[in-house]
Symmetry: D2
Subunit: 354 residues, 4 copies
């Protein structure tokens, strides 16, 4: 109930703070008999890992997933899949400077007020470290949904915005550069921008776009659990996300119905796809595409004024190794959450008609 | 499970097609002892009602809510509150022209494929008529959350966009005009625009902004049921919605952390509010504000090519009385869904600490 | 959340007090395309109806179910099925004598303390009248589960206990007498007993047995949602139920493993069936059978001492028309709840393996 | 969804097979700020541990619980509490004899048919080993519910049945003997019985009774989540349980209403307690008491005929170290499940009225 589960039939429940012994989770509802590629799961986790390139945090976190149950002789057994990821970084010595201080635009203040207490070391439960568990479950979901492909990419860093549509890009190039932008020139500009921002001790926001292909017609459970409503919740549940739009999105609000409507071809496909692959909350077989907004990381390497627990003004400065821009590492997280939504709705769809 | 419930503790489950005998719902989890103002609930329903002004659909739907249980001697009893709203408009004669036709950018095609059948009269379950039930429950939720106020307003119609922030507007003027825009000049321009679009037999999109004030610190259940994640899902579950952003939103992605961070005052309030009243998924006591994108209504009074069930190309034209722009009537729906989220999280918060 | 829903995928949510305008419910998760026999549903409701024989309450309640949604052209559409049953008996004049009094072994005291208020007329929400909604949903579930048959019968009234096993009885004779006992001699004795008890102004308890045949292997979701665990909860949720046992039940605790174990035949059936058709929480294809204990009705036509809201001792006597023994009318309710459990688990089972 | 969670607000989700690396779980919904006594949790686990006396299985399983999250500086933080218990016994060598064989009255056959596969080593997920996780969560729940005490005890072994009511016993003596029966003479007889049965290579069933004291008035969520309905489900979800009764139970069905009704004292307590502390599904402040039936353990040390996967008849004999009677070790499990129910309903009750 308390907000640590995602999904109804294909369901992930997670636990763990950044500086406890381990984080982990339980994946329920994976049908029995699925052949599981453990290396593919670890590979996804590596896409999210700190230290993978020079534009992300240089923290050392090996992030190896250990499966504890639910798999036997290479296949899912239908029983819950428990897993843990040990926290390598759990020494507490570096956190005395934030023990009694509320960092601006972090969750320190709100956790303290909500729970009356908090594990202040490295953000505790509010640390983005918990998203590693999402990536594990999402990687498994990707194996379940099989021929449905999910590909996210960096579509903007600060004001540097990729104007090309996803159809104009070669999405197989996403992993070719550190910023995960499938446009070589733009990628270079983005990387330079992130380096410049880091040099200032500052951070910058950005957006991630995502495309889901080969979705069967029929996924989505109106009226509240529309497919895009669940995608929106999935994305907004990721740390630092401030917005979501799918299909024609905010720009579509400026259009007239006569231009916005997607006219059918005889086979049920549509000529345009302003609907973003979803009509009435249910997938229509066209590509699903959406965009997610990430704010700039709150931890900066500059002096800031803030308050402590007593309300006294104090000066603080970020320590440690943080991401100057969260977007490159967010790409696999966006994919993972999308995969969880699609897997869940694939199962839900199995019981919608006789 | 099948997508007709919203909320965990304060929970609405709805039923009903546009052309069956009635729509309705069950509200669970309203604590016992709440004094209920039935007139206030009907008033909210009237804000959503067709025919209320010259820029909305002229259909005649009285939309009177009947409460069947859960209330006794003017107060909630803690038992489920059942209600119905009769469908005045349930004669089927007008719908033969769409019986075998899939209207572009409607849910006809997807419902047919998902369920293998559908009530084709007036959209059936996919009709926005079901949102009337949301308004009933939301109006009751508003009475529960009491001093927390929720005010939505039209912030754009097509390209006509209100540039003022909500702080620069007098939100008490929202109901002063038919388009529900609290800026008189802009409201007039919007109304003219909607009339012009209607004259063309066309429709237009727009955005609704919403402000929630007096929210206590501590609402939101990380890591998946963050307050803004539930707001996003609530909004995306409304018919025709294509996007959601809160706080600094998509614009905030262009900012640097040093500019985006909200610096604390000594009392725990913040100087700026790019966070939109939520940090780490938990309300921080500042105003919550967000914006919702609505696409143009798909039913237009122009000829369009489309297909029938056999995949044959046919020509069709909208009949009946439809909204040229959904935004004015969406304002109370946005408020209702926001109220459901806040009420649910208020109850959830009661058990977060000893 | 607040306890008014039953089931996960095939789900019933109910509302209604005995003396409000109506009771009703929403059935979610019925797959689209099911041909619905409305008469069969009303027939089940008639089996539960007051006034059907001389040994049950003589209250007049027509109990006609009205379906409001989810059905179209004789079939389920996959959307929620809303229904109401009007309360004919809703005049409040007869209830002043219990307004401020807590009847012994009723829910008056506990509702008052839990909610701080209650609809005292006829028991309000605690009235067994709500079980009518269960019978409606159960009757629909019976149509979904199709070839699986569920037959309950009265197996004891007071100390009059049917010693024959269900295999020794002809269950097609259950409806042949007013007490619903498929043994003619025992039925007559039970009827005489109930009449005698009523004459004393007293009431008597009894048990209902139930047999489910043709269950496919594989229903049940360990480790918590074992099939028999859900059956137990279903039964204990019925008013006046005090106990549940399945298979060898309490008597089986006296046996040794060597005698209790069910030895397999080559086809996977078992020679004995002490397991009651369920092993490890999952149906094994053998008959499921269980027994449910009902306490004597608390409303008696004799003077009793009790207390009022102020804790003062008062004398009271039951008024109105009540059942001297709840068991005959409980038979269709037991079947209905069993049908809900089986329908739900049939759907759950569809996603247990690839 | 798939049956691995118990509870709504105070919620346990478990994972793990008997012969994987570890079993474990996640406890959600424990309010922040609860002081946690880790030793008390381990002590409860020790009460369930194999090898603790000469009448239980002599397997060596240290069963040490490791907490991974949700606790900080001795208190709950409001975040999910993850834990694992390593499987010491995970070598697979002993299980070749059951790999392709379906043991009588075990879950081998049903798991194989349901999931199409199974981890055959030691019962896999169907092993009672998973109840260790329940004991961990229940021990934590006991600390939350604080002054409410839960005490279970062995009330019968085979035909040896304790006739005294719980009021006639000194429940502080439960732990004084290996069989956990608070009557010295009966305990000795039971122990002798179990030893004799074991000598035969056989097993025997029994019952566990449980008493919950100091329960506040108001726990329970009608109409489906009645307090006793949730207790029934909790108990029936434990391995080997075949029946549940509370208050007057099955015997109460033989009584007349005039004798069964519990007459109020002026303070709201009742003279008798046939209601078993629950009226209308809601606790009334009197002691809650119930009884649980356990079948004889299916694994016996005698030759039995059974079938293999191909349906061929084979002869088999239990190996390894198994319990001749499950009841003594079931006592802490019954308490744990009762504690989970009470903790959950305590939290649910906090939001039932303003």
């Amino acid at each position: 109930m308390a907000g640590n589960s995602f999904g109804k039939l294909f369901k992930l429940t997670t636990f763990g703070e950044s500086h406890g012994p381990a984080i982990g989770g339980i994946i329920e509802g994976c049908p029995a008999g699925l052949e599981i590629d453990l290396n593919a799961i670890q590979s996804e986790l590596n896409r999210r890992k700190p230290g993978q390139s020079e534009i992300v945090t240089q923290r050392k976190e090996p992030d190896v997933v250990n499966f504890l149950s639910g798999l036997f002789e290479g296949r899912s057994t239908g029983t819950p899949i428990g897993f843990t990821i040990e926290n390598a970084n759990q020494k507490s010595k570096d956190y005395s400077h934030i023990k009694d201080v509320f960092r601006p635009s972090h969750a320190d203040f709100t956790y303290e007020k909500k729970y009356g207490t908090r594990d202040y070391r490295g953000g505790g439960r509010s640390s983005a470290r918990e998203t590693a568990c999402r990536v594990v479950a999402g990687a498994l979901a990707k194996q379940l949904i099989n021929s449905i492909t999910i590909q996210a990419y960096t579509s903007s860093v600060g004001a540097l915005e990729l104007k090309k549509t996803y159809q104009e890009l070669d999405l197989s190039e996403v992993e070719d550069n550190a910023v995960r932008c499938p446009d070589k020139d733009m990628a270079e500009a983005m990387i330079s921008k992130i380096k410049a921002v880091r040099k200032e001790g500052d951070t910058i926001g950005g957006t991630v776009s995502c495309v889901i292909k080969n979705v069967p017609v029929g996924l989505g459970e109106p009226v509240f659990d529309k497919l895009h409503a669940d995608l929106a919740k999935a994305m907004l549940s990721i740390n630092a996300v401030k917005g979501f739009e799918y299909g024609s999105g905010f720009e579509g609000t400026k259009m007239k119905g006569s231009a916005h409507n997607d006219i059918f071809n005889s086979d049920g496909t549509t000529r345009s796809n302003n609907s973003g692959g979803i009509q009435g909350g249910i997938s229509n077989g066209m590509d699903i595409y959406f965009k997610v907004a990430f704010k700039p990381v709150a931890t900066i390497m500059q002096k800031q004024n803030t308050i402590d627990k007593d309300g006294d003004q104090v000066e603080m400065q970020g320590k440690g190794r943080h991401d100057p821009c969260v977007v490159p590492r967010a790409v696999p997280i966006v994919e993972a959450m999308a995969a969880l939504v699609i897997a869940d709705h694939l199962l839900l769809q199995k019981i919608s008609k006789l």
